[in-house]
C-alpha cells in the first residue's frame, strides 16, 4: 500500500520535474533555434537555416573590443577572487578566530545583496575619491561579488581535508609550506580550477555592476544591452547569445568535472553541487 503510494507519488513528481526542467531550459533552447533562423523577426514558424548572423558577428569592431574588455576583466577577476577565496576558505575551515561568523558573514553578503546596491554604493565611492570609471572599477566590483562563490566552492574542498593529513606531512619531515605544496594544494587544486572557471563565468555574464562602473569601455553584456534597442539587430544578438551560453555551459561542465574529480581523488562521496 505505502509502496504503491510512494511509486504513484514518484511518477507524478517525475512528470512535474520534467515539465519544470522544460520551463528552466525553454529560453536557452530557443536561443540557437532563432540564431540560425533566416528571418529578422523572432517568431514561429521558422523560415529557414542560415549562419548569416554568426558571420555578421565577425565584422563588428565594437563587439570585438567589448569581448576583449570582458575577457580581460573576467580573467583578472577570476584570479583575484579565487586568491581571496582561498585565503578566506582556508581560514574559515582550518582556524578559529574572533568574530569569525561576523567576518565571514560580511564577506559572503554580496551573495544575497541586490547587485544594484553594490553597484551604486561603489559608484558613489569611486566618484567621490576621483577614481575614473574603467575596466579596473568593474574588476573591483566583480571581485566583490565573485569571491563568495569562490569561497562556497573552495570551502567544500578545504572542509573535506583531514587536518591530520597536513600534520602527517609535517611529522614526516616537511615544513609548513612543503605540507601545503605537496599535500593541500594537490588535493584542493580541482576546487581551485572550478573556482577560477565559475568566477570567470560570473564576471563574463555580469551586467549591472559593469553597467554602472564600466566607463567608456563597455563589457560584452553592456554592449549587448545597447544592441537590444535595435530590433533589426536581434538575430545577431541571438547569435552572440548562443555563443555566450554555449561557452558558459561548457565552462560550467568543465568546472563541475574538476570539482568531482577532486572529490573522487580524495576517495570521498559526492555531496551536491556548487552552492
Amino acid at each position: 500500500m505505502a509502496v504503491g503510494q510512494a511509486r504513484g507519488q514518484g511518477r507524478g513528481l517525475r512528470i512535474y520535474a520534467v515539465l519544470y526542467l522544460a520551463f528552466l531550459y525553454a529560453p536557452i533552447v530557443l536561443l540557437p533555434v532563432f540564431a540560425f533562423n533566416d528571418s529578422t523577426i523572432i517568431a514561429f514558424p521558422l523560415s529557414g537555416f542560415t549562419t548569416q548572423w554568426f558571420v555578421e558577428l565577425a565584422d563588428v569592431p565594437a563587439l570585438h573590443s567589448a569581448v576583449l574588455t570582458s575577457l580581460k576583466i573576467a580573467v583578472v577577476t577570476a584570479l583575484i577572487s579565487t586568491l581571496l577565496g582561498i585565503c578566506a576558505a582556508r581560514a574559515a575551515t582550518r582556524y578559529r578566530f574572533p568574530a569569525k561568523g561576523g567576518i565571514m558573514g560580511v564577506i559572503m553578503l554580496p551573495l544575497v545583496l541586490p547587485e544594484i546596491i553594490v553597484a551604486v554604493s561603489l559608484l558613489v565611492v569611486f566618484l567621490q575619491i576621483g577614481l575614473e570609471l574603467s575596466s579596473l572599477t568593474v574588476i573591483l566590483g566583480h571581485v566583490l561579488i565573485c569571491t563568495p562563490f569562490c569561497i562556497a566552492i573552495l570551502n567544500g574542498s578545504f572542509q573535506s581535508l583531514d587536518v591530520s593529513l597536513e600534520e602527517a606531512a609535517v611529522d614526516l619531515g616537511e615544513s609548513g609550506w612543503g605540507a601545503f605544496r605537496l599535500v593541500i594544494l594537490p588535493l584542493v587544486m580541482p576546487g581551485i580550477i572550478a573556482s577560477l572557471l565559475i568566477a570567470f563565468t560570473i564576471s563574463m555574464d555580469e551586467f549591472i555592476i559593469a553597467f554602472f562602473l564600466s566607463g567608456s569601455d563597455p563589457t560584452l553584456p553592456v554592449y549587448l544591452w545597447g544592441q537590444l534597442r535595435f530590433p533589426q539587430r536581434l538575430p545577431v544578438v541571438m547569435a552572440l547569445g548562443t555563443i555566450l551560453v554555449v561557452a558558459s555551459v561548457l565552462i560550467i561542465i568543465l568546472a563541475e568535472w574538476f570539482r568531482r574529480r577532486g572529490v573522487a581523488k580524495r576517495g570521498g562521496s559526492d555531496s551536491g553541487g556548487f552552492l
Binding site: 591530520s164 600534520e167 602527517a168 609535517v170 611529522d171 616537511e174 605537496l182 580524495r266
Partner: protein, 365 residues
C-alpha cells in the same frame, strides 16, 4: 634503563582548560609504552606534545638527551600513526611510504628498496602501486605504519591506531603491532582508551585522569596493585566494600561491613597502612560462589543472586550479600556439570582475604 624520553613538569592549557597537569614521565629505549585513560584525559595532548604538534606551557620534553623546546614536529626524531591514518589520498601506497624519504637525499634505487622493505615488513609487499584511497581500513593502517617506520624514528607515536577497525581486525592488529615492535626494537608510545588493549600490548602503562598521571606500572602491577580507587575501577572491574582499618596486636586488621574482619598485609595498600575508614577493593574473580556439596571456605558469606549476565565462557553474578547495601560482582568460569544460578537463588560466597586492596578514606567507591 636509561630514559629515551623524559618529561618534567609538563603543563598545557587550552584557554582555561588544564589539559596536562604537571606530567613527569620517563620512557626507556625499546619500550612499548601506553597512555591509557578515558576520552578527554589528556593522553592525546601528551602524545601530540611529544610529536611537536602542541607546545607546552611549562615543563620540558627531552628525547635522547636533547631538549625539544622550540624543535618543530618535522625535525623531531619521532613519527606518528594518526587516528585517521592520514594516508595522502592523491598518492599511491609507495608514494605515501616514500613521502618522508624525499629529503633524505637517497638515490631512486635505495629509496625503492627501503619503501619495498617497509611494505614487506607490514605485510603489504606488492601493494606499492595501489591507489591509497582504494585501501581497506586495516591496509591503511599498515601503510601508515610503514610510512612512519621507514624513517627509522627513535620513537613511534600511535594515536588510537586501532579504534577505527572492527573487532576481529583489531585483535589481529594488536598481536601484529606487538610483534612488529619487538622486531624493529623502536620505542612505541600508544594512546588508547581501551584498557584491555593497553594490558595486552604494553610493557608499561601510564593511566591518566583529567590531565594528570594517576599511576605508571606494568600491566600486572596496574591490575593487582591499583594505586587508587579510580585506577582500580578503570582497569578491569572492581568491587568496593566499605569498612575500617583497625590496628590490632599482630598488625592491621580489615573490618568489612557484612564480611567480618581479616588480617591485612602491608603490600595490600599502595600507601602505608593506618587506622581509619577505608574502601576494600576486590576483583570479581577473587570472589566465588560455592555450589551445593562444596566444602566450606575459610572466609565465607551468604547472600542472594540479584542479577546475572551469561557470557558463554563466564557468568557474571550480582550478589546481594547479607547486611551489605551494594551488591558485589562475582565472575565464575562456567565449568561442565556446574549449575548456573538464577536470580533470587540463595548464594554462598567464598572470598580470599589476600586479594583485598585497601584504599584509605570513607565511602565505598
Amino acid at each position: 634503563m636509561s630514559a629515551l624520553i623524559a618529561l618534567n613538569g609538563a603543563q598545557k592549557y587550552f584557554g582555561a582548560y588544564h589539559a596536562l597537569r604537571d606530567i613527569d614521565l620517563e620512557i626507556g629505549q625499546g619500550e612499548f609504552f601506553s597512555l591509557l585513560g578515558p576520552s578527554g584525559c589528556g593522553k592525546t595532548t601528551l602524545l601530540r606534545a611529544i610529536a611537536g604538534f602542541e607546545a607546552l606551557d611549562a615543563g620540558s620534553i627531552h628525547i635522547d638527551g636533547h631538549d625539544m623546546a622550540g624543535v618543530p614536529a618535522n625535525r623531531r626524531p619521532t613519527n606518528m600513526v594518526f587516528q585517521s591514518y592520514a594516508i595522502f589520498p592523491h598518492l599511491s601506497v609507495a608514494e605515501n611510504v616514500a613521502f618522508g624519504l624525499r629529503k633524505r637525499g637517497l638515490d631512486a634505487k635505495t629509496q625503492a628498496e627501503r619503501v619495498g622493505g617497509a611494505l614487506e615488513m607490514v605485510g603489504l609487499g606488492g601493494y606499492g602501486a595501489r591507489a591509497a584511497h582504494a585501501l581497506s581500513g586495516g591496509q591503511r593502517q599498515r601503510v601508515a605504519l610503514a610510512r612512519a617506520l621507514v624513517l627509522e624514528p627513535k620513537v613511534l607515536l600511535l594515536d588510537e591506531p586501532l579504534s577505527a577497525l572492527d573487532r576481529k581486525m583489531r585483535e589481529q592488529m594488536q598481536g601484529e603491532l606487538r610483534r612488529l615492535q619487538r622486531h624493529v626494537g623502536i620505542t612505541f608510545i600508544l594512546v588508547t582508551h581501551d584498557q584491555e588493549e593497553a594490558l595486552i600490548m604494553s610493557d608499561r602503562i601510564a593511566v591518566m585522569f583529567e590531565g594528570g598521571i594517576a599511576q605508571i606500572d606494568s600491566p600486572e602491577g596496574l591490575y593487582r596493585r591499583p594505586a587508587s580507587r579510580e585506577v582500580g575501577a578503570f582497569i578491569g572491574q572492581m568491587n568496593f566494600l566499605a569498612g575500617q582499618v583497625r590496628s590490632g596486636t599482630d598488625g592491621f586488621v580489615a573490618q568489612i561491613h557484612g564480611l567480618g574482619h581479616v588480617p591485612l598485609a602491608a603490600e595490600q595498600s599502595a600507601e602505608p597502612l593506618a587506622a581509619g575508614a577505608a574502601a576494600f577493593g576486590m576483583r570479581p574473580e577473587s570472589l566465588s560462589l560455592l555450589f551445593d556439596g562444596q566444602a566450606q571456605a575459610a572466609s565465607e558469606a551468604t547472600g542472594r543472586i540479584a542479577d546475572r549476565a551469561y557470557y558463554g565462557d563466564m557468568t557474571y553474578y550480582e550478589v546481594a550479600l547479607d547486611g551489605v547495601a551494594e551488591p558485589v560482582t562475582i565472575s565464575m568460569k562456567n565449568m561442565v556439570g556446574q549449575p548456573v544460578l538464577s536470580v533470587g537463588d540463595a548464594a554462598r560466597v567464598a572470598w580470599d582475604p589476600r586479594a583485598l586492596i585497601v584504599f584509605p578514606g570513607p565511602g565505598t567507591a
